[in-house]
Point group: C2
Chain length 239, copies 2
Amino acid sequence: MPAAAAPGTTAGTAGTSSADSAGASKSVRRRAGRPSAALLDQAGITAAALELIGRKGYDGLTMAALARQLDVAPSALYNHVASKRDVLLLVEDHLAALVDVSGFGAGSWEDAVRTWAWSYRDVFAQHTPLIPVIAVLPVTDAPQTLAMYETVSGGFLAAGLPEERIVSAIVALESFIFGSAYDVTAPADIFDAGSMAGATPHFTAAVRSLAARGDERPADVAFGLGLEALITGLGALRR
Amino acid sequence: MPAAAAPGTTAGTAGTSSADSAGASKSVRRRAGRPSAALLDQAGITAAALELIGRKGYDGLTMAALARQLDVAPSALYNHVASKRDVLLLVEDHLAALVDVSGFGAGSWEDAVRTWAWSYRDVFAQHTPLIPVIAVLPVTDAPQTLAMYETVSGGFLAAGLPEERIVSAIVALESFIFGSAYDVTAPADIFDAGSMAGATPHFTAAVRSLAARGDERPADVAFGLGLEALITGLGALRR
DNA sequence: CTTATAAATGAATGCCATTCATTTAGTGAT
DNA sequence: ATCACTAAATGAATGGCATTCATTTATAAG
């Protein structure tokens, strides 16, 4: 857990072990009506969603399952979120706080970017179904994500990148990170050409010679290779 | 299991220009039973799916809509594809053939990569819902995609990249391309911090100064920046 | 002529997100 | 105290979705 960022606002609730409201499985039958204390809130929904995702994966994350996890009727969720997409947004923003931006302001710019990029990829490799959501997500709707951008922007500016290229540089890195996150989840034999191998000699040979020197995970090798290239190339913009 | 199946008898029809069977909207009521010539085949299904995607987007691509487009009952589709995922695979492989690999073997390696990467991104920017599918797709199931890899591998080898790094280099570029494809579809105001702008001075300033010099599309600027960095970095591996 | 089969039908099935009328328990004002 | 208001729950629809299955039938093969 890289920790870090976790900007002030919601830090109070976020700090508590997220399991509490998630695990509530009292089988006590409740009647409709306003309870003494609200059963649901966004923090509880987020925690329950994460718990569910961890146990059953994203296929298991249905509004019905989420409601059951919280011992509540599915329709009750809609008092606190407008849609399932909203739930995914809550989860996404929670995860953004786990990305390690501690390197910015500490060591070299290169090392800070390395730490950030690897942890960013690692976090979202476990949550690839969120990537299509993030990609189109206005930052306004995700405060933790926005906080991450602020820290990274500050680090880039301090390192001497021209202000007008900072967003482009971040976007380029992020695009690479998201694409690479998918890569982590790919099956090991994804490049096995099978019966078509005869028709693709160059590619088949390349796949074989990669596999031959295989201690490190292929996805990690590719990520390291691309990341170092990006760091060098983007670093050259500094003045 | 996709590919294989393709009942031999009807293979002849598969070779025909795929557009014909897509537009078939005869309202003639048919009875159950084997028709004189098969109404459906994978080429026709692919063409109809592309037509539908172009007209209604991926939300409009349902098995029911696809069947209607082909003037057939939804269940009939399952004689030719095992699942909706299979339909997406057919579409993906069709698109792979549109990617421009003509640069390999022609000009410089750098230019070939540029042409390939830009066209690859452009094709899939229109089809981002396919990206999660491609990412986990064994190449065996996608002959056109495999053919693309073969051409690119050959180009990389000819340019002097060590064989054991070719796959990693391609994966790194592809990851960047997929991530960047999402970027193209993002709304223009995605980085507008709105009410949070006060709390994020560096980021907000960076966004503003990017917008200030804005003739080119932001997604294109970021893609160009990252791509040139990758080309330089990966090119340095040549011997 | 018989038989096997590919390829269609349409009627389920089960899952899903979401909506809605309804109920109820607190809160705050009079 | 009483009353009205409202937040937050319920459970019963609703409509859409992919997929399955028993059934039908034209055709090709033997």
